[in-house]
Symmetry: C2
């Protein structure tokens, strides 16, 4: 391949370190043989790489903390990984205007903590908050646990600085609270998964800080009862700040790791939080009564934020618990909230038919489910069946009026289904939009819309 | 011109009625001699017109209630006005999923009232709420009085159905609470002012209904004191649902219409509301104390929603009061909140230098100001000076880090300044995006980005 060593931008030369930059957290991610890694230190570095890559028609994979679950930040053969973790300054936190200006390499939790020190709140909170970057959050329009009340990353992006192939630096959006001058290209870049440009600065909206959340935990002997509870919670005037569901298999996985106080024989656990200023305690008591009325077997309410964190610890332990179980296809479908328990039941049936283990958990308040379908990495047949089950879950979600991806993005993992959701003509249109920004197709080629 | 009379879509034949469809509420709007008006009854009508117009290269002006303030819905010579007021059904109000599906012709207040009957809330509330349509709101990404707490129209649009030139029917976005499959074209259509396609269906997100708002009214002897108050309100943990400002001239205009209880000798009036469930009374008392501390001369608090409406009546009377004063250029600049009173003072200075009357009012909590610059329609010199003053206010707002339009849109009124805000290269890019959707340039040609 053409190498970027002629550039002044630092490249990674140690082969082991380089290999680490070649993959993300998607299932079966494999680094190609031939790729380079450059670590941008500033806007100038990104411009230089984008100018060079455009001229030499070299594929570029924009990359943050490599926590993508869809393969969108895996290196491409003959290409360059453009890592922007080094652009990690928070240049502005403005309480009056309610905004922050940050580099794409700022870690989500780093931004949360920095603005919290000013009494402010940056809501978007993917489960990977401790290590994922704002740049990656923007690229995938990341969601998380807070979305039922606070929405997703895109709801907080006011303006972007983006470098296009060729090196042009573009500013979109506005710093002011409102602004409608021209087309909204900010929204177009949010969620574009590194296919249109490389984000080099993000202006985010901030909210006043809420109260530390309190938690209710409820266990259910049937999915139907959990479903009744979710529907009732959706009608709450004071929207919970978190509504998470774990099915029987998820509870079992978590309890296998350590005793988080979940009864292993329940069909579902719901975790519900309130962060409403001065009313967290009142809210969780009311949610507790609602959960009881819906048929919960047991309901526990945390009296203070420390206890509330303990109750949530089981949910937090889910990711490591599932990692420990072995390789899996991780789903991210989103369906109408009223269809969530249908989807769980359908998924359980699909897995059973293929003789596979499936674990269901997700953001119940949004209808956004993350089923994990496990397979035996040593058995190609098992893997094939898992992929088939994965396919059937996606298809079921679409049939329920859902989407193939609620918050992880398309990447390579979901690209085969995008045409099914959007239609070929719409895909053509999206490719045409991409071609305006990236006429030589150097940015994440082959991903998302198969461009 | 080629006429659409061969189509099955109803055209308006009465010349007087037709003339009414030729203009919107922008200053100096004049209907051209040669245009046709078609009133679509359903999706099929829109498809037919868009197919025909594309084939015959006939300019199309998509139109709702003609309340645009920028000329974006004025008829074009040799073109067709495609009015969608007839697509006015509310096909879905779904409390569980928190959404409504409506035609573009549904009146903003009609949607608010319909969802309120289900205990739900559609926040966007342009001052023209009683007659403007959702289609127009989407086209301009309309704001209003609620934005300081609730944001703008685009924050509530989940999905759109749009007809493109040529008649293709496109669906964007998703009905689910989350969804990141492919590029966000919904956001691209929102605020595109009828230049990309004709919206035929809107899926909006809904919130639980808040409490009826209570109001505080404060008068100030100096703009500086009002500025201190606005800054203090921005730091409130419980964000007010409304923060409106009127300057001395605005108060005087309102009091000329009737006695709304404003003292004529004050420099500024601030109106502040809370709609926070169970806390409206507590909030307005706290806001009242804050306003007093900031140096308000007088502070009045409404005890109940009826009184609260009375206190707001003066703000509502502003539009008719200003209409009654005569022709004016109406501004819509938005600046950082910290620069708002600078902008007011600058605007007053500009008007004084040109010997013109200027009235300042706007959404102080957002930094979104609506100065009115009055002129004598019989005196071309006066009109020229008013336009010059208008230009100078826009330029001042840009210099303060603001935007030429916070919520009204660009239309023809602000088109001359768009390049100054975005730059020529960005304008070229936006024209290229338009060309993807409207390759023959039939939709609102010559408007927004001068395409």
């Amino acid at each position: 391949m053409t190498t970027p060593t002629s550039l002044a931008v630092p490249t990674v030369t140690d082969p082991d370190v380089r290999a680490g930059y070649g993959v993300d957290e998607s299932v079966g991610a494999v680094a190609p043989d031939d790729f380079e890694v450059v670590r941008a230190r500033d806007l100038g570095d990104v411009v230089e790489v984008m100018r060079w890559a455009h001229e030499t028609r070299t594929p570029v994979v924009p990359q943050g903390a490599r926590s993508s679950l869809t393969g969108s930040s895996v290196a491409i053969d003959g290409g360059v990984v453009l890592n922007t973790e080094g652009l990690d300054s928070i240049s502005t936190i403005d309480p009056l205007e309610g905004l922050a200006v940050v580099g794409p390499g700022v870690v989500n939790k780093g931004l949360k903590d920095a603005v919290a020190a000013e009494g402010l709140f940056y809501p978007p909170d993917p489960a990977s908050s401790a290590f994922c970057t704002i740049g990656g959050n923007v690229a995938t329009n990341a969601g998380g646990l807070c979305c039922v009340k606070y929405g997703v990353t895109g709801d907080y992006v006011r303006a972007l600085q983006v470098v296009l192939p060729g090196g042009e630096v573009v500013r979109t959006g506005h710093r002011t609270a409102k602004g409608v001058a021209g087309l909204d290209l900010t929204g177009l870049f949010v969620g574009s998964e590194g296919t249109l440009g490389v984000v080099t600065e993000v202006t985010t909206r901030l909210l006043p800080a809420p109260d530390p959340a309190l938690t209710v935990l409820a266990t259910f002997d049937s999915l139907d009862a959990a479903s009744v509870a979710i529907v009732a919670l959706r009608r709450e005037r004071h929207v919970p700040s978190l509504v998470e569901l774990l099915d029987r298999a998820a509870v079992s996985a978590v309890q296998s790791l350590a005793d988080y106080g979940f009864p292993r024989d329940c069909e579902a656990v719901l975790l519900v939080q309130s962060d409403r200023p001065d009313h967290t305690s009142e809210d969780v008591q009311r949610y507790a009564a609602l959960l009881t009325d819906a048929g919960a077997a047991e309901v526990a309410v945390a009296d203070d934020p420390t206890e509330a964190d303990l109750l949530l610890a089981g949910r937090r332990a889910l990711s490591p618990a599932l990692e420990a179980k072995g390789p899996r296809y991780l789903e991210d479908v989103c369906v109408p909230v009223g269809r969530l328990t249908d989807l769980i039941r359908t998924g359980q049936g699909i897995a059973a038919a293929h003789g596979l283990e499936i674990v269901m958990a997700g953001h119940a308040g949004d209808g956004n489910l993350h089923p994990s379908i496990f397979f035996d990495a040593a058995d190609p047949g098992s893997r094939r069946r898992a992929h088939q089950a994965f396919t059937e879950v996606v298809t079921a979600a679409l049939a329920m009026g859902g989407t193939i991806t609620g918050e992880h993005g398309v990447g390579t993992l979901k690209a085969p289904w995008l045409a099914q959701e959007l239609g070929e003509r719409e895909l053509e249109r999206q490719r045409a939009v991409k071609a305006l920004f990236d006429p030589r197709g150097i940015l994440n080629p082959g991903r998302v819309y198969w461009s």
